[in-house]
């Protein structure tokens, strides 16, 4: 009998993909998740984020008896390559990664290589009802790649620049102005190494600003004339690199290292993918209170980051429960507090309960954070296939030694 039911369930699944996975409702999932251990692979370079994940771990432990172990990555690609190796080695149900913090190029790779849970699961999460794909379509499109319900939105990101008002009165508000600033103030600007996510994002930002016709950037890179499309970027860099911090002979490893350089006064302008990052750093005494943020006039890159479950997760039910908790109003509102993390939420405020709205209203914006209206100017992420080509091209131009 059960066989027939599950076969029927499978059949329904094949017909429609919006029905809960294998017909099980979420209480069943929660029951199955009890006592499981979830290995949460996430970049571990920022204390605020690590502390937030640790808090989430305590919560899912006390509510669902799930043990959350944060595997701190130096680079998310490490985890993707591990899942790939496990797939190659035929590990189909006891993988070492249960849930992974991901977006953009890494998601595209996982989707293409069949490294994600085969069935869509995101819209079965109870917390999904608080989201609004109408007002925030990016929760269903990761760098224009449809998520197909295989990764759950976790937070929003936008590239913002931070500067010290005590040193710099009018920050440069476009790629051209920035170049002029770099040439006038040698050694006082740099960006993270483009092998890093934020460093690559900076290159994409400059490219988007300088390109007259942006359409090729939103199609697969193979269909474009790479050289001619990217020429303005290399021209900009050729002019900027000799005047960068350390004459462009080295780059900080990531945005937290960049933030430290701003705090030390080695550079004048830093960048981050989190609008509240500077406020949180001021709160912690890592940046002077005179630091403020701004974005370029044409807008800056914005995207959503997600949680995905690999095809071979050893605790897929618990992973879904964790993803659901991370999407819950309580966790999302806490996450948006700059004293905690300051990562903007992916939920729609008007779908929240009154109590949650009150809680959201009580969250401070942060002294250095721009208002929502100031941040309204956004640029969409180019097609994910551009990342690796840009990285290769950058390396061969600026990272090949003599």
């Amino acid at each position: 009998m059960r066989l027939i039911i599950s076969l029927a369930g499978l059949f329904i699944l094949l017909v429609s993909t919006t029905i809960p996975v294998l017909g099980e409702d979420f209480t069943t999932t929660i029951r199955a998740a009890k006592g499981q251990t979830v290995y949460f692979n996430a970049w571990g370079g920022d204390d605020k984020i690590n502390a937030y994940i640790a808090w989430a771990g305590q919560q899912v432990k006390s509510r669902y008896d799930i043990t959350l172990k944060h595997v701190k990555l130096a680079d998310t690609a490490t985890a993707v390559s591990r899942i790939l190796a496990e797939k190659a080695a035929g590990r189909v149900n006891d993988g070492t990664i249960d849930i992974i913090w991901i977006n953009g190029a890494n998601f595209a790779v996982m989707k293409r290589s069949g490294l994600l849970q085969p069935m869509p699961w995101v819209e079965t999460l109870p917390s999904w009802k608080f989201t609004d794909a109408e007002s925030l379509p990016a929760i269903k499109y990761d760098f224009a790649e449809p998520t197909e319900g295989k990764e759950s939105p976790w937070g929003r990101a936008q590239l913002v620049f931070a500067y010290d008002t005590a040193r710099l009165l009018t920050p440069p508000r476009s790629a051209q102005e920035l170049l002029a600033y770099i040439r006038a103030n040698p050694g006082r600007f740099t960006f993270p190494n483009p092998t890093d996510f934020v460093g690559m994002s900076f290159l994409k930002q400059i490219l988007l600003e300088l390109t007259v016709d942006k359409t090729p950037l939103y199609a697969p890179v193979d269909t474009a004339n790479f050289e001619s499309v990217t020429a303005p970027l290399w021209d900009w860099l050729d002019n900027a690199v000799p005047h960068l911090w350390r004459s462009g002979s080295t780059y900080p490893a990531n945005y937290t290292a960049l933030r430290q350089l701003l705090g030390d006064g080695e550079i004048d302008i830093a960048l981050s993918f989190n609008p509240a990052d500077a406020s949180a750093a001021i709160e912690k005494g890592e940046l002077p209170a005179t630091v403020s943020t701004y974005i370029h006039d044409v807008g800056t890159l914005a995207n959503v980051h997600f949680l995905a479950i690999p095809f071979n997760a050893s605790a897929p039910q618990a992973a879904r429960v964790v993803a659901d908790f991370m999407l819950s109003p309580e966790a999302q509102i806490r996450k948006s507090d700059p004293r905690i993390w300051g990562d903007p939420m992916v939920l729609s405020p008007n779908k929240l309960s009154t109590a949650d709205m009150t809680a959201l209203a009580a969250v401070p914006r942060g002294v250095a954070t721009l208002s929502e209206s100031d941040l309204a100017n956004t640029l969409a992420e180019p097609h994910p296939s551009w990342v690796s080509r840009l990285e290769e091209a950058w390396k061969s131009r600026y990272a090949s030694g003599f």
Partner: protein, 558 residues
Amino acid sequence: MAGCLFLFCSPVLVGLIGVILPSVGFFPAFGEGGFSWAPARRFISTPGLSSAILLSFFTGITATVLALFFSFVVLATCAENRLMRYLRRLLGPLISVPHSTVAIGMLFLLTPSGWLMRLVSPNLTGFDRPPLFAWFPDPYGMSLILGLLAKEIPFLIIVGMTTLATLPTTRLIRAGVSLGYGRAACWLFLILPLVYRHIRLPLAAVLVYGLSVVDMALLLAPTLPPPLAVLIFQTIDHSDLLTRLSVSFGACLQLAVVILAILLWQMGEIIISHLFRHFRNSGYRLLIADRLLPILAAIGLLPMVLAVLGFLAILLWSIAGSWFFPAAMPNSFTMQHWVSAVDMIPLLGNSVLLAFSATGLALIVVMAVCELTPRQFHHKNRLSGWLHLPLYLPLLVPQISFLFGLQILFSWQRLDGTWVALIWVHALFILPYIWLILRPAFDFCDPRFDQVAATLGKNAYYRFFHIKLPLLAYPLAISIFIGVSVSIALYVPTLLIGAGRVNTVTLEAVIRATGGSRSQAGIAAILQMLIPMIVYITVQVWLYIRFRKFSAMQDMMA
């Protein structure tokens, strides 16, 4: 018995096979079964590869040459006076500090916005902002060399001291001085060649380490491009299969770099020894060098001084509130970083558990082999020396080369991220050191104690535990200390074999130091340093309490 050791060290060979086969396109697990040059071609096209290789050669060989030179200078200056005893007391703990801690401390101290610059700015320098000049880390690899020296000079001094203890140093020098040679000349012509002959193996390990170091290079080396080992390490992160195959080729290339460097070194040895002979027969008295020695020795101790000041900087940053350039001291002090460091307790637990399990395993293996094989004085028997080569393999084969192959195999066999695999791999690195300490100790342990006990009717079990072990208490204690220190410092093995599932304070320290949070990186670095230190102090105190009434044990503990 050699077979047993061989078996224990087989992972190195297996790991090497695990990178050599994929590097020529043979990888059944990924359905790649044919010979192909594609992985090799792909790796060779990596931007900056030639610079990376040159950088590896430059930093590795320079650091080893300088470490050898300065450790000999210090030995020649201090060996016969009081200083040596103090030096030994200081260097013992210093060699237990992980490479990554030293690197982090030097970063905190020496970068343009580091503590040293803050101490002298703005009053002396006029800087109200960090200067733009990049001297640390520098684009040429000098910073990495300095960091390596801070670790390798003390190591070679300690190894040299151990050798000196077996040589008639005083007599040789007296003979030389009576012929009118200066002390420096006596050391140079008579003693150092003898010492050198004995330390070739540890020296080779130093050379290999310098050529393939990852953790220290991540923090101190140039980045565009980094040294070869870091380049490989960073490419491992890439996610397509062909790249994984080409990284295997990189791992083989790293091995080739090491082999080539060792050959170069041997050629250097031949040339130097010819020059040396010519020079020695020329009859130079080198009296002037006697005056130079103390100055050179002071320069040789400088990297260690910087390392220790670096530890102070780490300590300061771990309790600093906000601290902006150019203030010489933090604006405020806080314990908040330490309070929030409670989440490092599991990491600390992992580190300790791993270090002690691996040390225990290595100790048991070494003691079993020592106990069950006849006493041997291997300097008389060259062949037995070769028999022990498999034992030193983990130190003579670049870590990144064989561990990457091992990681692939372990992942395939579901062993990666397991404690068993990690403990085994850690024990692999501890074993040679413990062997070097315990084998001579077992050999020189006077068998007559054992015989007396036997005639008194004590069985073998009793004799081993109640006679032999107490007699060997000192070398055993030192073995535990060295074993724990080695294990705590391991970065690449823990990261690759631990599969991210087993995290330690060392992984945390490196990731935080590259992530720009000085206070947190500082705390992880302190914890890293603390474990071997606590073991060291415990060992010293226990030995003192247990054996203070045994006159014959006193010299050992001095």
